[in-house]
């Protein structure tokens, strides 16, 4: 830590004395490079952190610069009032460009944002108010307490301070709840929604953040060059910006800055060989995506990984600590309320012609452990997907504590107390185990992000509290040895346990477990049964889909059997196992004998 503070102080001093060592032209080059670094931070937030392909960053830049230029030269506004309007204009543009992200992602989003950027260039080249192809000159020098900002030396300090604040804010966002949610959404939007992230709002936030950085860069650019013209905001420059972010490392804001500064300076050095420079950076982009997808910023981690190969093995062989049971719920709440926690009424789900669920009705009382079994393709996971809001039901209703919740979005259901795990593990791959828990622990609605603008201390305190809770939760599930590891590097059994811990992090009332025992060995299955019982005893109702009949028979009080999307039997394990329809549809006659055996004998053998 002390080492870091020292390095930072050294960097600050170096940045402060830099102009003393540079001639006028060099300072100009550095000033322009800082503007690009700001733009790159914004693009990094949208693309690297939130995973939203944004090829309109250059248009946000343009909106900021042109608004400032038009308002100061045509409307006679002062520079700073014009700048304030410019930030608002840029963020509105960000909202507009972000709208398509609600409907489309990835390639489509790339082409739409690119199209909108071209539309912007088309507008500024033609509009009389924007000065057409000649652009607008004679933008006034920004006044600042009598400091003469016409001097590019002094302007450097203005930019430096603005840039330092903007970068610090960006890093703050990335490391606190908002940025974690965005990164979770980037890694897996479905799972992020299931743990309570409002994906649409987060996508818009990402675009607005990017546009504010773009707008700020535009204002600084207008004040620096004091002349704006369409060619600065061309698609060629957009791709240059993209190259900066990709080469620097899109997932690290510092990487984006390094890429932006580096590429700006190299481009300046090769100004006489512009075409060769373009060829070179194009080639570097291609090589980067193929050989170093995390860019320059990712290289230290890759080198470290290569050097410490055996130490990572040591981490993998570190064992899971034992699970520490939850505190049982107080007596008063174990009296079962009359209203069931989950009630499903005549639920149907059709995929075109295929009836995945056909008139399914189901009641799960509070404090139950309910098993759902059935052959593959019988609609079990579809049922979970409908209950957790990932699918919209074709007909019927889902009630939670007596309230109709069918058709509610996944993040709202998460807020209402529904948590789930996934059959094929959906952990956030580029987040650490600790961060996976943190994302789910955070229960604040996304709209409280206003605190980022006005009350950062509150955000910081909240984050601190979440981290304490995450440590507690990790300790409870015996995960202390793995908190800093990326989940993908851990053995399967541990990943399964992390998913349950993440689901429990949202303090649910109803927990849906989709095949929690798949791929676990006998001992792990025994531990799982212990965990599920403890979760139930703490007052959470559990519904689980499982193929391991031993586990289902010993753990669940009641079992529902699905076949071809319909309920064919329901009752206690013994009742269900004796139903002829079940034997015919699923178990087969010899399976009954094994299935009825209690789970303890299985793990002993």
């Amino acid at each position: 830590m002390r080492y870091r503070v020292g390095a930072l102080a050294l960097l600050a001093v170096a940045a402060w004395v830099l102009p003393y060592r540079l001639d006028l032209y060099a300072v100009h080059v550095v000033d322009v490079a800082i503007v690009f670094a700001l733009l790159a931070v914004g693009l990094g937030l949208a693309m690297g952190i939130a995973g939203q392909i944004n090829l309109a960053q250059i248009a946000f830049f343009g909106v900021g610069a042109y608004t400032t230029a038009i308002l100061t030269t045509r409307a006679g506004l002062g520079f700073w009032p014009a700048a304030a309007v410019a930030i608002v204009a840029a963020s509105l543009t960000g909202l507009l460009v972000g709208l398509p992200a609600l409907r489309v992602q990835s390639h489509y989003l790339g082409i739409v944002t690119l199209g909108l950027a071209l539309a912007f260039v088309n507008w500024i080249t033609n509009a009389a108010v924007a000065g057409g192809a000649e652009g607008i000159s004679a933008v006034p020098v920004p006044p600042l307490f009598g400091i003469d900002l016409a001097s590019e030396y002094l302007y450097y300090y203005l930019e430096l301070i603005a840039f330092a604040v903007a970068l610090a804010f960006g890093l703050f966002v990335v490391r606190t709840p908002l940025g974690r949610r965005m990164r979770a959404m980037r890694d897996d939007p479905l799972a992020a929604a299931a743990v309570g992230a409002e994906v649409p709002l987060l996508r818009m936030t990402a675009f607005v953040l990017a546009s504010v950085y773009g707008g700020l860069a535009g204002i600084l650019y207008a004040g620096l060059i004091r002349y704006v013209a369409p060619e600065t905001f061309s698609i060629a420059n957009m791709f240059l910006l993209l190259a900066m972010v990709i080469i620097g490392g899109r997932r690290s804001l510092v990487g984006c800055v390094v890429g932006a500064l580096g590429l700006s300076l190299i481009r300046e050095a090769l100004a006489d060989f512009a075409t060769f420079a373009q060829l070179a950076y194009g080639i570097v982009v291609v090589l980067t995506v193929v050989f170093a997808p995390t860019g320059l910023a990712g290289i230290p981690a890759r080198v470290r990984d290569a050097l410490r190969h055996h130490r990572r093995y040591a981490a993998e062989s570190a064992t899971l600590q034992p699970f520490q049971p939850f505190d049982p719920a107080p007596e008063a709440s174990t009296v079962r309320p009359a209203v069931p926690v989950l009630e499903i009424r005549n639920l149907s789900k059709r995929f075109r012609g295929l009836k995945a669920l056909d008139n399914v009705s189901l009641i799960v009382a509070a404090g139950d452990i309910r098993g759902i079994v059935g052959p593959n393709g019988s609609g079990k996971t579809t049922l979970f997907n409908v209950v957790s809001g990932l699918y919209k039901a074709t007909g019927g209703q889902v009630l939670l504590d007596g309230e109709v919740v069918s058709g509610t979005r996944p993040y709202r259901l998460s807020r209402l107390g529904v948590a789930r795990t996934f059959q094929n593990l959906r952990l956030f791959g580029n987040l650490t185990v600790h961060e996976n828990l943190l994302v789910a622990l955070d229960r604040t609605p996304t709209r409280s992000i206003w605190r980022y603008a006005l009350w950062q201390v509150g955000v910081w305190r909240h984050d601190h509290e979440l981290r304490r809770q995450a440590d507690e939760l990790a300790a409870r599930f015996g995960l202390e040895n793995f908190v800093e590891a990326p989940p993908g590097a851990l053995p399967y059994g541990i990943q399964r346990r992390i998913e349950i811990a993440r689901a429990m992090a949202s303090s649910p009332r109803l927990l849906l477990l989709d095949e929690p025992a798949a791929g676990l060995n006998g001992e792990e299955v025994r531990q799982l049964a212990e965990i599920v019982r403890s979760i139930r005893d703490s007052g959470v109702t559990v519904v689980l889909i499982e193929h391991n009949m031993g586990l289902v028979m010993s753990l669940c009080e009641r079992i529902t059997v699905l076949a071809s999307g319909a309920v064919i039997a329901e009752g206690t394990p013994a009742e269900v196992a004796g139903t002829p329809a079940v034997i015919e549809a699923y178990l087969g006659d010899s399976a009954i004998v094994d299935a009825a055996e209690p789970i303890t004998s299985e793990s002993a053998g």
């Binding site: 409907r103 990835s106 199209g115 071209l118 033609n126 194009g282």
Partner: protein, 289 residues
């Protein structure tokens, strides 16, 4: 009325070019699930190669086109081969990789042919047909016919040949395709090179209609993409319909909004994507983008 039809004819002929570009996008998408952002610059290269061989080497136009198609086909193979490690892993990175190739191709075009463009005379110098006072250039008809023929050939290839079916299988499930013995890399390479060949066809034919310059691909590329979306991404007949529709929209927007025609086209295009991302003939063969 005469102006209306004249605009319509102009729009249809450019629309046929957009349709060819759109088919290239759609084919690559249909066989790989990838949108090739370098496509626009492949169009530029195709246009330059065709016009250079036609003007400087004085080859017959058809032969010059053939050379261009072969050259761009090879470029397609190179792009696919370099980006192959990313296939079926990270589509966003692949997209950025194709942008990188676009940057490279544009720089190469400037190095070889210079930053300024050149005009290409029409290879067919007959007097325009006159139908009810509307002038129709023979060349426009040729362009339309070529686009139609290319569509028919592609549909036949994808639906009737074993190779075409295999290529679509790869896009749907590359693992299953590998399991039944399809060489995924080779299939993708073929898809990519046919796509690039279509780009050269579009660029070469566009030469005499437009002005050949290093940036001509950018506008053709994005309009071709809009056309592909409009017709339903991945659908070959949809690409034709979408291309002609965008061409006509473009022509009328140019008449009505002059310089702002691009702005209008892109705003309409954005609105369409938001309302109906699958396009008019949308098929959900691949669900990746």
């Amino acid at each position: 009325m005469q102006v209306f039809f004249q605009t319509l004819v102009g729009g249809l002929s450019l629309g046929a070019i957009y349709a060819l570009v759109a088919m290239g996008f759609s084919l690559v998408y249909r066989t790989m699930g990838l949108v090739n952002f370098a496509h626009a610059d492949v169009v530029t290269i195709g246009a330059y190669v065709a016009s250079t061989f036609y003007l400087s080497a004085r080859l017959p136009f058809v032969l010059a086109m053939a050379v261009a198609i072969v050259v761009t086909g090879c470029i397609g193979v190179v792009i696919e081969r370099v980006l192959r490690p990313l296939e079926n892993k990270d589509f966003d990175l692949m997209l950025i990789g194709t942008i990188g190739f676009g940057i490279v191709l544009q720089a190469l075009a400037i190095m070889v042919w210079g930053a300024t463009g050149h005009a290409v005379p029409s290879p067919i110098r007959t007097v325009p047909l006159e139908v009810f006072g509307v002038h129709i250039r023979t060349y426009d008809l040729v362009v339309l016919a070529v686009a139609g023929a290319a569509m028919l050939a592609l549909v036949q290839f994808l639906q009737r040949t074993k190779r075409g079916a295999a290529m679509q299988a790869v896009a749907m499930d590359h693992e299953a395709a590998t399991a039944v013995g399809i060489h995924v890399g080779r299939s993708n390479a073929i898809g990519f090179s046919i796509g690039a060949g279509l780009a050269a066809l579009a660029g070469g034919l566009a030469g005499p209609l437009l002005y050949v310059s290093p940036t001509m691909g950018a506008s053709l590329g994005i309009k071709g993409f809009a056309a592909a979306i409009l017709g339903g991404f991945g659908s070959i007949p949809g690409a034709i319909i979408g291309g002609l529709a965008i061409g006509v929209l473009d022509a009328f927007a140019a008449g009505r909004f002059q310089g702002y025609s691009e702005l209008v086209t892109f705003l309409v295009f954005t609105a369409i994507i938001m309302i109906r991302p699958t396009g008019v003939f949308g098929e959900k063969t691949v669900n990746r983008a």
